[in-house]
Amino acid sequence: MAYSEKVLEHFKNPRNVGTLDKGSNNVGTGLVGAPECGDVMRLQIEVDSDSGTIKDAKFKTFGCGSAIASSSLATEWLKGKTVDEAMKIDNMDIVEELALPPVKIHCSVLAEDAIKGAIADYQKKNGLEVTVDLTASH
């Protein structure tokens, strides 16, 4: 299968690979798995509590090239956004940006779910109202 240039680029030079301190109150961690293929994604955000903006984002993904590219792109997009803005990232935006084929849509869903998971974790830790709907089905 041929991958798009953008997928290949993110795959070869993934941005923001790494691990944030999941014990820290400013850090939210989303860890999700795709039942379709057994792939696993962990995405973390570090929020500046005064401004509510995302200072840093890191990921690690066990998955196909599209999943890796989706999470790499997601971390790029997350940095500098407010939590509210981050919530609006939709998996179809990722599909479009990376030109993912239909069999690879679930890889982008994984990224959206990881973002939502990270936000929810951050909100829970900080006694905030959880505003993401984790049960939304795709």
């Binding site: 039942p35 057994g38 962990r42 993904t61 890796i68 984790l134």
Partner: protein
């Protein structure tokens, strides 16, 4: 840009040996006759060439040339051998025994037979990929007519205990068919010594051309017959109608002749290269070789790189190195290989497996390049993997329940 292209997928198909191509060329234009044309020299010459090739193929198997039926390949040979026996011996019984790890050409044929009133037992293999001989014998019933067990597996290279299977079949008066596609021309395959009554194979896995193969059908003790699956002019003793692919058959013959001469030296050289590859990969952590180590083809290894996602790993090198992976056999599917699952591998290990199949034209430096490139790819994937990080921290990964979405 690194433009190297290394081919380690010889179980899928082999390049045609230049000596084979040379042998074929005259039969496209100069000697182009129809081997069934009995009334002129164009036909006679073509027929002579086919007869000669039939001898070459028969010699490789140490059988009589009358026992070789030319086909379009192993898929056709599997269909003709199995369906042909089922239809011919139906009055005697309707039960066939095969393995879950057979090639699709056998499994789908068996499923078709089930729809047509046949009964098929699919035996499981052990962790090494080998048939359990006791289970095989126990599965034979009064209405069993055929045992279909492949000689060597295409994904793992595992070689079945052919002699023992042959003895069991003989003892119970059951025919023994083998898909020997991956074994012929690479290791000695002498059906008569082992009690194999029918055997399908193909030229393009042994440095011959694509689109030509053969079915061996035993003619003496017992005399086996198959019902034709293609009706027409009655070629190939009525068992396979259709104008013979003369250039292809000539190439097949030449490939068989070369294989007979060079098989031992190829096998020795390739098993050393294969072992070098395996030893190199074992320097990485958590690397497993799938299938029996003792009973396998000399040029094949199937390796799982644990905690590495197979498709992603492939992306790190597939511009330069051609191999097959344990997932995505049919490229759009996310299903792991049924052969590896049958060996008891979990989905994760099956997905992270790669089959390396070396060939006559594989060079030592290509193996070294492959080791270097794929080892770096494994490292890249592990650096990116949360699972690898957890494994390194000592987390029990199998115990984690992932949030469904």
């Amino acid at each position: 840009m690194d433009n190297r292209k290394i081919y380690l997928d010889n179980n899928s198909t082999t390049p045609t040996d230049p000596r084979v191509v040379d042998a074929m060329v005259p039969y496209f234009h100069n000697i182009f006759g129809n081997a069934a044309s009995r009334s002129h020299p164009f036909g006679w010459e073509a027929e002579e060439a086919v007869d000669y090739a039939r001898e070459q193929v028969a010699n490789l198997l140490e059988v009589d040339s009358k026992e070789i039926i030319f086909t379009s390949g192993a898929t056709e040979g599997d269909n003709l051998g199995i369906k042909g026996v089922f239809e011919m011996y139906r009055r005697k019984g309707n039960h066939i025994i095969t393995l879950t790890t057979e090639h699709k050409a056998v499994l789908d044929t068996c499923q078709k037979i089930e729809k047509e009133g046949g009964e098929v037992t699919y035996l499981e293999v052990d962790r090494e990929g080998l048939v359990d001989l006791k289970k095989l014998e126990a599965a034979i019933k009064p209405n069993t007519i055929l045992v279909s067990i492949m000689w060597a597996n295409n994904e793992t290279g595992v070689i079945q205990p052919m002699k023992e299977i042959g003895e069991i079949c003989k003892k119970h008066g059951v025919l023994f068919f083998s898909d020997a596609t991956q074994a012929v021309g690479k290791i000695p395959t002498h059906p008569k010594e082992l009690g194999v009554h029918l055997m399908a194979f193909t030229a393009h896995k042994m440095y011959g051309p694509k689109g030509v193969g053969a079915l061996f059908v035993n003619r003496k003790g017992p005399r086996v017959k198959v019902t034709a699956q293609l009706d027409g002019g009655g070629h190939e003793r009525g068992m396979r109608s259709g104008t013979l692919n003369v250039p292809g058959i000539v190439g097949f013959g030449k490939a068989a002749e070369i294989a007979k001469k060079e098989m031992a030296q190829d096998a020795e050289r390739l098993s050393k290269l294969r072992d070098r590859l395996e030893e190199g990969f074992k320097k990485l952590e958590e690397v497993y070789v799938n299938g029996s180590i003792e009973n396998r083809m000399p040029h094949v290894t199937n390796i799982s790189f644990k905690h590495v996602e197979g498709e992603g790993l492939m992306m790190t090198f597939n511009q330069n190195i051609a191999v097959s992976s344990g997932s995505a056999c049919t490229s759009a599917s996310l299903e792991p290989s049924y052969v590896l699952i049958a060996l008891g591998l979990g989905d994760d290990l099956a997905h992270s497996s790669i089959r390396f199949s070396l060939g006559r034209f594989t060079k030592e430096e290509e193996i070294d390049y492959t080791l270097e490139k794929i080892s770096a790819g494994v490292q890249h994937m592990r650096d990116l993997s949360p699972i690898w990080e957890m494994y390194k921290e000592g987390v029990d990964i199998d115990a984690i329940e992932w949030a469904e979405h």
